[in-house]
Symmetry: C2
Subunit: 201 residues, 2 copies
Amino acid sequence: MHNEPTSKAERTRQFIIEKTAAVFNEKGYAGTSLNDLTRATGLTKGSIYGNFENKDEVALAAFDYNFNRVTAYIKARILAADHSIERLLVYPAVYRNCLKIPFLQTGCPILNTATEADDTHPLLKEKAANALSFWKKSVENQVKRGMERGEIKADTNPAQIAAVLMSLVEGAFMQAKVTGRNTELRIAMDFLEKMILDLKV
Amino acid sequence: MHNEPTSKAERTRQFIIEKTAAVFNEKGYAGTSLNDLTRATGLTKGSIYGNFENKDEVALAAFDYNFNRVTAYIKARILAADHSIERLLVYPAVYRNCLKIPFLQTGCPILNTATEADDTHPLLKEKAANALSFWKKSVENQVKRGMERGEIKADTNPAQIAAVLMSLVEGAFMQAKVTGRNTELRIAMDFLEKMILDLKV
DNA sequence: TCTAAATTATACCAGTTGGTATAATTTGCT
DNA sequence: AGCAAATTATACCAACTGGTATAATTTAGA
């Protein structure tokens, strides 16, 4: 983490990303207008276009920012644990409360971006797909680490755990978000927890 | 199924819904313009507004149509089976191939609508939430029926089965749609199948 | 077949969209 | 402090947005 001499423009660029990220996640790409961006930042169009090529570039940067926040939050909690089972349990523990976590209040960035962009916006679609790959690899690596350390049963299939974990989280998150209740989310996360605990040797 | 004397307007209304439903599911509510609607139908704005109050009303009708198609398809396959386990297995069997089913090619209507509308469009949001409730009740009823008939273990929790089944389907569908591959979908549906088979007495 | 009513097309509206020159203002280096 | 360069604001653009009167055309019953 070296502090490079940030120019005004670099700082403004970052400021724009931080202020608009929530708007993009809330309203989607098509639903967010340049006007929304100026309102969210207090800047003018000229200023925004001085730092970004177009709306696309802001949206792409905003997605990275949103995804990064989630990743950093999860990562911190994972590193705080040592045992692989504990580490995997971070996912149900976090998403169980997703409706209360500030930057998840407007929904999961991956889910939001994936469902909007899959048929309409190739660049955003690719970002969402890459985010899923990254997440998948992370989970798989935690499982493998657990197996190497003798903490997780040797016959465990990392790819299976990752696919089921991610599907449960995303599917349950969607339901919680749109129904406004977390009954199903709680059930799904309870189930996921048991599944993870069942991996213990 | 009584054939009421359908007026021209009623037929046109239905025609508009059928032709625009796919567009709404593909581009979303905000991403679909009146222009898209005229292009999809070959009709003019005047004609569309002669049959609908506004874009909202078309979108809401289109959602019902989209959801209905999925429901009808699933229902037909469920009724073709008798044993409760077989009936529940319809879900993984169908969604395993979701990328190839014509009216699911633009994604799951519930998922698409839920993620776009949850923060932006109360009416659509409610429709998505109601669709989830309907689906949940259907699964729960199948499980209960199976328990009454002695086909499903007595200690099964219908709400749990419904929540896990729906989360797995929606989460895995999303991944398949955005990555363009069905590896994770297949894994998740395999898992779901085993879970359902495990309910057998 | 005629005709009143129902339906569809035309032509328009004001407001908004994403985007861009250009002018005004800040920066930050010497 | 002075000044060139980088940054931000202003004012504008054509295209498109959802929506609406009104005119033209169909429809279908007598």
